[in-house]
């Protein structure tokens, strides 16, 4: 590992703003928060995956993956980050390293040429270059290539150093944040900056979630200056240092980025969530309060309260007809991170019973919130093996599973409704209006008449009533197996009878062409 990357990883793991990290001993802290992976029992993406997830929503740049085929070939265009403009971010660019490139050490040259080609063809505002395991292993210096290319072509080339084998998705998120800090944020000054400029970090606008929240901000006159990185333009990210406040939306992964924005540019940050009604209101309040502290007109607070009152009243009205449809249903939640409590709160608001929530990837603070909201820690669990989850669902321990795509089939194969609440989902559930979409999705899932049909017995699971009619047994032997079917036809369900075989027409032994189709025997 390059020393620079090594110290970067040590740096992002030693996060003073992170509660978990603060709670550790000096020795533990040195080890970082990466858990060693167990061969044969590991799941989840790598650091490169995490970096790509965090940066790909920047819609107008070219994302160029320096790798052999699998890293981009198996993974491009597989997420639902929505764009209101350029579609360039959806295009898969890779150097597709071949054996020859690797053996001959052509990696860096190929990367340089690829950068040139992508700039000449698409003229993006910037090129994000991702390093992966193989180039890192053979020592390709993507920083140097990016620097040279940026100088030569006059387009910023951002090296994202997060080879997969360095660690998990979470580490990749962090390293992506570092790349933005080192190479993007602060490189462009906005034409004008207002007291109502905010950064939103950690929302990737999956299926348009950011747009469910944006109308609220629009009405308050709040401008998303730096979006990191939902529906973001490159220039937006580059100007993020001029925002007045940062809201950290998802997970702890990008907390380092938020903290460093505070340290370097004096932008205070807070953690909030747009999942659920109370959380959305809380987030808006904090946002406005901090803006006022930083120089916005105090009347913003009043407008904020008025907006919250209006929106809350409206959404509760809209939800009312759905409450009886979902109230009392038992939910098993398998998400993690801050969703382990924010979704719980949202579901409880609807009168649903949360029988368990996974606290994987959740911090101590997250866990405290779960305990606070559920008034007991009995329903928290860490990981659940698919087998156990299947049992639990099959035994009707829950009416619906809400989780990410990985456990989708555990629920479906147990014939239990499933609602997608992770990043691959196709519906946005953020803000006030998102709550309505979520409840509709739950209603659609749990109250679908299909479940009763699917769970009902198959025709052969119950004996037929005795009709008292006689159906003669099948006669003759099966032409394939030559097994006699005499006496096998006692079942009255078989109405078809095999015709007797035609005699062999030619002298070929052991085979007789028959008028009947063999497979029907």
């Amino acid at each position: 590992m390059a020393d620079a990357l090594k110290s970067k990883i040590a740096d992002v793991f030693d996060e003073p703003a992170c509660g978990t990290n603060r709670g550790k001993s000096e020795h533990q802290r040195k080890k970082g928060c990466a858990k060693p992976l167990t061969p044969g029992a590991a799941a989840g993406g790598c650091a490169f995956d995490g970096a790509k997830i965090a940066l790909q929503p920047i819609v107008d740049v070219a994302h160029l993956v320096h790798a052999p085929l699998a890293c981009e070939g198996n993974g491009w265009d597989n997420r639902g980050a929505a764009s209101s403009g350029s579609e360039l971010y959806r295009t898969g660019f890779t150097t597709d390293l071949t054996e020859l490139d690797i053996v001959m050490g052509h990696g860096e040259k190929k990367l340089f040429r690829a950068i040139r080609e992508v700039i000449e063809r698409h003229h993006p505002p910037a090129v994000f270059v991702y390093s992966t395991c193989v180039p890192a292993l053979i020592g390709d210096d993507i920083d140097a290539v990016c620097k040279a290319a940026a100088q030569k072509f006059g387009t910023p080339c951002i090296p994202v150093n997060a080879p997969g084998y360095e660690g998990s998705k979470n580490l990749g998120n962090k390293l992506a944040g570092e790349a933005l800090l080192d190479h993007v944020i602060g490189t462009i000054e906005p034409e004008d900056s207002t007291p109502y400029d905010v950064n939103i970090i950690g929302d990737y606008n999956l299926s348009g979630e950011l747009w469910q929240v944006k109308p609220l901000l629009d009405r308050l006159g709040i401008r998303i200056l730096g979006s990191i990185t939902g529906d973001a333009r490159y220039r937006q990210v580059a100007m993020a240092h001029r925002a007045k406040v940062t809201m950290l939306v998802c997970s702890k992964a990008l907390i380092t980025l938020a903290r460093k924005l505070e340290e370097r540019h004096g932008i205070p940050f807070f953690e909030g969530s747009f999942y659920g009604i109370t959380d959305t209101s809380e987030a808006l309040r904090t946002l406005c309060r901090t803006l006022v502290e930083r120089g916005a007109d105090a009347e913003l607070l009043d407008r904020c309260e008025a907006l919250i009152a209006e929106e809350e009243a409206r959404i509760w009205d809209a939800l009312a007809p759905y409450r009886p449809k979902v109230a009392g249903r038992k939910v098993l939640l398998y998400t993690g991170g801050h969703k382990s409590w924010s979704v719980v709160a949202a579901l409880q608001e609807l009168g649903m019973e949360v029988i368990g929530t996974s606290v994987r990837k959740a911090t101590e603070e997250d866990k405290e919130r779960v305990t606070e909201i559920m008034q007991t820690d009995a329903h928290m669990f860490d990981n659940m093996a698919p087998k156990d989850m299947y049992r639990l669902l099959k035994d009707a321990g829950a009416d619906v599973l809400m989780s990410g795509g990985r456990s989708q089939f555990v629920a479906l194969k147990a014939k239990v409704p499933w609602v997608d609440v992770n990043q691959e989902k196709h519906e946005p559930y953020a803000g006030y209006m998102g709550m309505l979409d979520l409840v509709r999705a739950i209603d659609r899932a749990v109250n679908n008449p299909m479940w009763a049909d699917l769970r009902s017995p198959a025709p052969w699971d119950e004996p037929l009533p005795d009709f008292g009619t006689y159906v003669p047994p099948l006669r003759g032997t099966c032409p394939v197996t030559h097994a006699s079917t005499e006496g096998a036809g006692t079942s009255p369900t078989r109405a078809a009878t095999a015709r007797s075989e035609a005699p062999a027409e030619n002298g070929l032994t052991g085979f007789a062409s028959s008028q009947t189709d063999f497979e029907d025997c």
Binding site: L37, T38, P39, G40, A41, A42, A43, G44, G45, C46, D49, L64, P68, L69, A70, C71, G73, N74, G75, W76, D77, N78, T91, G92, F93, T94, D96, L97, E99, D101, I102, K110, L111, F112, R113, R116, E117, R121, C133, V134, L137, G164, Y165, E166, G167, S168, K387, G405, F409, K413, K415, V480, L508, F511, S513, S514, Q515, D517, F518, E519
Partner: protein, 463 residues
């Protein structure tokens, strides 16, 4: 004969290829009680798994040796051993198929040697067959990985036989399935073989494991597939039918081991290719006739071709796929007069690419595919689901074929082989061609439009 060309560029735009380890994993999933294991970093597995899950809409067992930087440099034998141990504890698979990745291959591990040592020492692993295929991501694509995995399975599990004492069952045949065959297609081939009174051993058999069914219990391994005992019995077969040129080496390997003669079918789509396999089945069944169901299917295909050729004849088609599939589909369409204006493939390992009925076969990506389809005036695109970008940009219909198909349901049920599958395929193509609604107007032919003065102008009541 097509000219094979490689575009001169460093940048690959919108990959057409899926990786070789993914192909190997797919082949391993056609073995009963299997868990494929990638020897690489956990991301290699995660990407492949998501890809497979999106295509099949099924939980896919796929595991990783979870290589990190240190184990990559020092060698991953211990990781493999630990992975096998953990997998056996967790899901007790009967079969573990290991596929290497670019990461471990760049370092250059002697996995074959290491594995031999591990399995020799760890006698407690005896209940699980472990097979290894070298499938670096930087060489070839899905089809190559699949082929290598099948060769590895044959190499490890098909015993060598003394020809003198060879037990042979004249009614048993081996069916080696190429990577592009869907579960429904494997099923159709099996149906045809059975119709001749022959009993096939299918390798790999994804028709029972990835066909999409709900079983009574949760399993951490594949839900069906070729039984290990059946793989051993392949030596007793009278013949090996290999579908796809990429299966030739595996078929040859069985012949070397057990003196089972083989024949490779480059395609089983289209009248003549299916005729060829039916004729072979007639030989194997030693009869001068085909079962009535097969005859009827053929008659119906002939009729379908008669109806469809009006739409397919002259149709300009752009095709992008792994070589075997590219050949099968292009050959069938060209057989009905379609013009293959663009043919893009993924790998040069398969010589069948040179037989594609097009002037040129590009070894490239969907970026090349889109550019070429546009400049050659293609009327229809045929490739996997990622072709939707090209379809959108060029305003052309897309027929989804190959892997992955993540934006349509029932990818496992698509059947374009045999007389029946070909018939469905011809209808599919003809219907897409027909759906491109075009109303002729005088200007299309250079005629002046009808003068406006002839047009009736309705009187609008003003009172």
């Amino acid at each position: 004969m097509a000219r094979i060309t490689h575009p001169k560029r460093a940048l690959s735009t919108n990959p057409l290829k899926s990786s070789a380890p993914l192909g190997a994993a797919l082949a391993y999933l056609g073995i009963e009680g299997a868990v494929p294991l990638f020897h690489g970093s956990q991301g290699c597995t995660a990407f492949a798994m998501v890809h497979l899950v999106r295509h099949f809409k099924e939980a896919v067992p796929l595991q990783t040796t979870a290589m990190n930087e240190v184990s990559t440099i020092l060698g991953g034998a211990e990781q493999i051993e630990e992975a096998i141990e953990n997998l056996r504890k967790k899901s007790n698979p009967r079969f573990i198929g290991i596929a290497s990745t670019a990461l471990t291959e760049t370092r250059g591990e002697d996995v074959v040697g290491e594995l031999k040592e591990i399995l020799g020492r760890r006698t407690d692993f005896a209940g699980t067959a472990v097979v290894y295929a070298s499938t670096p991501d930087f060489a070839g694509g899905l089809e190559d990985g699949w082929a290598k995995a099948v060769e590895a399975i044959v190499d490890s599990l098909v015993p060598a036989i003394d020809p003198v004492f060879r037990k042979s069952d004249p009614r048993q045949v081996n069916l080696l399935c190429g990577s592009y065959l869907t579960p429904a297609e494997v099923e159709e081939l099996v149906r045809m073989i059975r119709a001749f009174g022959l009993e096939p051993i299918v390798l790999p058999d994804i028709s029972t494991s990835l066909d999409g069914h709900v079983s009574e219990n949760w399993s951490g391994t594949s839900l069906g597939g070729t039984r290990l005992a059946d793989i051993e019995r392949m030596v007793e077969s009278a013949f090996t039918l290999a579908v796809g040129e990429s299966m030739r080496r595996a078929a040859k390997l069985i012949e070397d081991r057990a003196f089972v003669p083989y024949r490779v079918f480059h395609s089983v789509t289209g009248l003549k290719p299916v005729d060829a396999i039916v004729r072979t089945l007639m030989e194997l069944a030693a009869q001068n006739d085909a079962p009535p169901s097969i005859k009827r299917d053929r008659a119906r295909l002939v009729d379908a071709a008669l109806d469809a050729h009006f739409h397919i004849g002259g149709l300009k088609v752009a095709l992008g796929a792994d070589p075997d599939l590219l050949f099968a589909l292009s050959n069938c369409l060209a057989g009905l007069g379609a013009e293959i204006v663009t043919a893009v493939t993924t790998t040069t390992a398969n010589p069948v690419a040179g037989r594609v009925p097009a002037a040129e076969v590009l070894v490239g990506d969907l970026g090349d595919f889109e550019t070429s389809a546009a400049s050659n005036g293609a009327q229809m695109l045929v490739t996997h689901a990622h072709g939707r970008h090209a379809a959108h940009n060029l305003h052309l219909p897309l027929l989804r074929a190959g892997f992955p198909i993540f934006d349509r349901l029932g990818a496992q049920d698509i059947c374009r082989v045999g007389y029946r599958g070909t018939r469905a395929f011809l209808y599919e193509v003809a219907n897409i061609a027909q759906a491109q609604h075009h109303r002729a107007s005088p200007t299309d032919f250079g005629a002046a439009p009808i003068p406006e003065e002839f047009d009736h102008v309705p009187q609008i009541a003003t009172h």
